[in-house]
């Protein structure tokens, strides 16, 4: 007996397969498990979702949650921009020029394997407990990943399209914008995806070790107070921001820049 299983097309399937329903259901499921676990534990060390959300609401209205989130977000954005710009430039140069690649490759491997904590501590020791050292240390942790990704992108550039651009005498700027950049787009997308999540985790460590504000500082403070509700509250609030950036900024941008793809003949 042979059974053929047709892969259902998600766009044409039942209503619950379309849209965000499954994702929403999955989140509700998670909250339910959390709620039940907290109810059973009945401990100050595992507050339920209702208490945590109430804490977020209260702190946002009367505390300085929004201020702390804003500070951390600014550090994430600053480190992200610095890492993407420097990493992209170096990565593209290394991908295009084998000689430069041979010189810088050992540095890259060292940097890739240097623990984030080491970079942060050294940055604070050498440059002081200031904003520039904090952001620089975070960026330096991310730069090697961006370099590796964009170097791969530069290596995968289509030589056929390069010849086309040269035969038609495109100006360097026009060639970059119309021929090179669209080919690098998926690599930029990958680098920024993994970048944002990595960077915000490192920013918290930087704040914990040497900044007087931000989510990391608050986590440290509340750890000393054993205030798990606050710890979960701050974490949840910032995760929500990162999710919003992913769904409202990164994904629509990506859909826009890849709209030429996946159109059947």
């Amino acid at each position: 007996m042979s059974v053929s299983i047709a892969e259902p097309d998600p766009r044409r399937g039942a209503w619950y397969l379309r849209g965000p329903w499954i994702a929403i259901l999955s989140v509700i499921g998670f909250l339910l498990v959390w709620f039940v676990a907290a109810h059973i534990a009945q401990s100050r060390l595992l507050p339920g979702p209702v208490e945590v959300i109430a804490y977020i609401y209260e702190e946002a209205l009367h505390g300085d949650l929004l201020f702390q989130l804003g500070i951390t977000l600014w550090r994430v954005v600053a480190a992200f921009v610095v890492a993407m710009v420097i990493g992209s430039v170096v990565g593209l140069i290394m991908g295009e020029m084998p000689a430069v690649n041979r010189v810088l490759d050992p540095w890259l491997i060292v940097l890739l394997n240097l623990p984030a904590l080491v970079i942060i501590i050294l940055a604070y020791v050498w440059f002081g407990l200031n904003e520039a050292a904090a952001i620089g240390a975070v960026a330096l942790n991310k730069i090697p990943n961006v370099i590796v990704t964009l170097r791969e992108g530069a290596r995968s550039l289509d030589p056929g399209l390069d010849e086309m651009a040269r035969a038609y005498r495109l100006s360097p700027w026009s060639k970059f914008r119309n021929v090179v950049l669209p080919q690098l787009q998926p690599y930029f997308a990958t680098a920024s995806r993994t970048g944002l999540s990595l960077i915000w985790k490192i920013v918290l460590v930087v704040e914990l070790l040497g900044r007087p504000n931000g989510v990391g500082f608050e986590l440290h403070l509340n750890f000393q107070l054993f205030n798990v509700t606050a710890i979960l509250g701050y974490t949840l609030a910032f995760v929500a921001i990162m999710l919003a950036i992913e769904y409202l900024l990164v994904q629509p941008l990506e859909r826009h820049s890849t709209r030429w793809r996946n159109r059947p003949v």
Partner: protein, 250 residues
């Protein structure tokens, strides 16, 4: 003020390549061209025919300035505009057909010119499409439109009709002739299809195997529009008799 722009339309193109050697990644040397010299008549179609891998594509790339690692001289106006049709369409997949053309077209190329050209090659309905939505035949048409949109002084065609079925290839050949006759351009085409060569060439250049050079130049005086199947067959048999090496097995 723009008289240099079309200097190539009447200028002679002289190609002399003493030696062109590829150096492989493992530093093996492969001489593709040796002692080749060729003069292109203005506003005529020169077709290069030779065995596969003899260095025809290398020659086109060198003429286009894509490869300057050779000894010799290519005499052409520095401001000459090029149109290049590659073996694959090489359209930018992230740009629509219209954007692909507008990216390279000549400075004075107007919307009207674009419409006329698109209609002539039959892609006027496809201007808003992305290349991936087109069949290979249609993509080739778009690439042909792009090559002509630069109002080239020199048009280079690298086996532009390979891997198409014979009917589509035939349609595209007559299309090329139509567009080309409307705006006579000095053109060089590479092919290993002898009937295609005889159908399109003013000057038929037979090339030697690698390292390649010019074996013979045959001038075909009958205007392309008047060549029918019988005539092509007769010319083909005549050439096959005189150059059995080049026509063996074709």
């Amino acid at each position: 003020m723009n008289d240099t722009q079309h200097a190539g339309a009447t200028a002679q193109f002289k190609i002399r390549i003493d030696e062109k050697t590829h150096i492989g990644a493992d530093s093996t040397r492969l001489t593709a061209i040796r002692n080749l010299s060729l003069e292109l008549k203005p506003e005529s179609m020169t077709v290069l025919m030779g065995p596969s891998g003899c260095g025809k594509t290398t020659l086109l790339r060198t003429v286009a300035g894509l490869d300057d690692q050779y000894t010799g001289e290519i005499d052409m106006p520095p401001s000459a505009r090029l149109g290049f049709m590659f073996q694959e369409p090489r359209l930018l997949p992230w740009r629509t057909v219209r954007q692909n053309i507008e990216l390279v077209c000549a400075p004075g190329f107007s919307e009207q010119d674009l419409q006329t050209l698109a209609e002539a090659v039959g892609v006027d309905d496809m201007l808003q499409r992305y290349p991936q939505e087109l069949s290979l035949g249609l993509a080739r048409r778009a690439a042909l439109a792009r090559a002509f949109s630069t109002e080239p002084d020199l048009l280079l065609l690298d086996e532009p009709f390979v891997s198409l079925d014979e009917r589509t290839a035939d349609r595209l050949r007559s299309l090329l002739l139509d567009v080309w006759s409307a705006r006579p351009t000095t053109a060089v085409m590479v092919t290993h299809n002898p009937r295609e060569a005889i159908l399109l060439a003013d000057q038929l250049v037979l090339m030697a195997p690698r390292p390649t050079h010019v074996l013979a130049v045959e001038t075909i005086d009958i205007p392309q529009g008047q060549r029918d199947a019988k005539m092509v067959e007769a010319l083909h048999n005549d050439l096959a008799e005189r150059f059995p090496e080049n026509f063996a097995g074709l």
